[in-house]
Amino acid sequence: MTREDVLADIRGRFGADIVELFDKSPKRVYVEIRPQAIVRIGTHLFRTLGARFNIASGTDMKDWIEILYHFTIEDLNLLISLRVRLDPGHPEIDSLARDIEALNWIERELTELLGITFTGHPDPRRLLLADNWPEGVYPLRRDYVEWDGTADRTRGV
């Protein structure tokens, strides 16, 4: 399958779910999709097109919260990034971790650091933050304010 075939396949199958397909460079394609379609498109890339799941990255973009799911098709040297935009008030999306095991930890991390709810995650325990970290405080959100009154932010010299 060539690069053009892959892109045509994605366009053909998921045309209604694709908001924008941005062909950035020979190695890089961004596909913005509707959040409801993430499981269908993600598993199709992973199972049918033979892509490898690299990592997901989340950002608080002020007006929306964005997740990029990075998939690589190594035979074509092509990195496909699925972009979803979530409502910052209630960022919620279906979990891909049930279908792709590699997403298990990164979805837990996104939950803790950005407060995104992954519906149907198989193991939604706390992963990175300390046990005494308060619930509902997300450190990588733009509106994060320090909750720990004892924190010392001086150099001490």
Partner: protein, 140 residues
């Protein structure tokens, strides 16, 4: 100087602890143990257990998770114990000073005897720091 401390400085056994560093300081610390720099000629030996250690080498910026482990280790180490803060992060938290996960500097958690600045400090700097430490507490 107490007899204990004098005996300790003849052959200080070091224990290496990373409190969330980027591993650069750890690599340079381990470099000191290689034949090229060979801190064993000063009698220093890497201790496998905190209970055998005389000197605690601390790297990293003390994040919330590792601080709990640091306190546990400090309770277990036989006193007197000297603490060396290796690298900018252990000294003043470097660029992580405003990080949500690094609320307290190392020297507000346990007493620090010597700071070795650098990002990362060279093995020569680490050895110079340790020699200074020995001189400071009154060894040869």
């Amino acid at each position: 100087m107490s007899l204990k401390l004098k005996a300790l400085l003849k052959s200080p056994w070091v224990f290496h602890l990373s409190t969330g560093s980027c591993n650069n300081c750890d690599i340079e610390t381990l470099d000191c143990l290689t034949p090229r720099f060979d801190i064993e000629r000063f009698g220093m030996l890497l201790a496998g257990s905190i209970k055998h250690a005389d000197v605690l080498l601390v790297t990293g910026s003390c994040n919330r998770m590792s601080v709990e482990r640091l306190k546990t280790l400090w309770e277990q180490v036989p006193k007197p114990c000297l603490v060396v803060a290796i690298g900018t992060c252990a000294g003043s938290r470097g660029l992580f000073i405003d990080s949500y996960n690094c609320p307290h500097p190392l020297d507000s958690i346990i007493p620090v005897n010597v700071y070795i600045p650098g990002c990362p400090p060279k093995p020569e700097a680490i050895m110079a720091g340790v020699v200074q430490l020995i001189q400071k507490v009154g060894g040869a």
